[in-house]
């Protein structure tokens, strides 16, 4: 039997695009020295990493279709994130 796997989930890709664009603009404002206000480096880091994480999640969930695919694929995709966080945490004594 042929495997017809074309799902019919309708995704508003243009809407996702606008979110990504807006977050990119906010990131540049937050990170660009001449436009960003003087605020603590820790807050800047938190904001930038947070926005990057949201953008990456949007790309993974909607463009890469993880939201609509089997959970096994999400599990495969999630493992590197866990391992990389582990690598950073384990090397923190060297920071």
């Amino acid at each position: 039997m042929a495997t017809e796997t074309h799902d019919d989930h309708k995704v508003n890709y243009i809407g996702i695009f606008w979110w990504l664009l807006a977050l990119t603009i906010l990131e540049v404002i937050a990170g660009y020295p001449s436009t960003s206000p003087q605020y603590p480096q820790a807050l800047k880091g938190f904001l930038l990493v947070g926005m990057a994480a949201v953008k990456a999640t949007l790309v993974a969930l909607y463009f890469m279709h993880l939201k609509f695919d089997r959970k096994a694929l999400s599990f495969i995709a999630f493992i590197p994130l866990v391992l990389c966080v582990f690598v950073v945490l384990m090397t923190m004594p060297d920071f």
């Binding site: 039997m1 042929a2 495997t3 017809e4 796997t5 074309h6 995704v11 890709y13 243009i14 996702i16 695009f17 990504l20 664009l21 990119t24 990131e27 540049v28 937050a30 990170g31 660009y32 020295p33 800047k44 880091g45 930038l48 990493v49 926005m51 990057a52 953008k55 990456a56 790309v59 993974a60 463009f63 890469m64 695919d69 089997r70 096994a72 694929l73 495969i76 995709a77 493992i79 590197p80 994130l81 391992l83 990389c84 690598v87 950073v88 090397t91 060297d94 920071f95």
Partner: protein, 206 residues
């Protein structure tokens, strides 16, 4: 299996609870997970090196943020054109598929051109090299060129992969596994975009 079915057997039949779509898609995800580890450890190494190096310059002051922000925008647009191309082949719209694949490839080529321009400026005008630079810590240049170069190689490979799929899928008569082929190259391309989002944040803005 009937002759009709065998004649039309051009899709993966190995369905399991883990791979109802295709083995190719699972294989691509497994490859991307490994590749994500490569980039993840590169970025983790960058974080360590930066934290222990004195005189690390503020990247947003020495690197071209405006140009790089445009490059980020370009990859985001190419991801949109990629999903549109996938949608087109799902709906059997050949012309739309080819157009959006070409736009995706074009976005990748422009990205590479801009990165080459950026590297040329940093190397020749700013004197930034693999072992030394005028801004501060010597490893600033090393880590920058290693990470952006590794990503650039992925984009180059992605452009070649996209072109190969465009040629291949363009020849077939909408066989079902064309969708799988295009879906897999799309996954790779979105991964390249996703990694750049992280590289832009960690290397350029932080």
């Amino acid at each position: 299996m009937s002759q009709t079915a065998s004649a039309e057997h051009i899709v993966d039949l190995a369905e399991t609870p883990l791979t109802p779509e295709s083995w190719g898609k699972t294989g691509m995800w497994l490859f991307l997970a490994g590749d994500a580890m490569s980039f993840g450890t590169l970025l983790a190494g960058y974080a360590i090196i930066r934290s222990i190096s004195p005189n690390w310059p503020l990247p947003s002051e020495v690197l071209g943020i405006g140009l790089t922000a445009f490059m980020t925008f370009l990859l985001i647009c190419s991801s949109v054109s990629m999903v549109t191309a996938l949608d087109a082949i799902k709906n059997r719209d050949s012309e739309k598929f080819k157009l959006y694949m070409l736009l995706t490839i074009g976005g990748g080529i422009i990205f590479l051109g801009l990165q080459a321009y950026e590297w040329n400026h940093l190397i020749h005008d700013a004197g930034m090299g693999l072992s030394q630079n005028k801004y501060g810590a010597p490893l600033f240049g090393t880590t920058f060129f290693m990470i952006t170069g590794f990503h650039g190689l992925h984009v180059t490979g992605g452009v070649i992969y996209l072109a190969a799929i465009l040629v291949s899928a363009g020849k077939r008569d909408y066989a079902p596994n064309c969708y799988n082929m295009v879906e897999n190259v799309g996954l790779y391309w979105h991964f390249v975009d996703l990694v750049w989002i992280l590289v832009f944040t960690f290397l350029y803005l932080l």
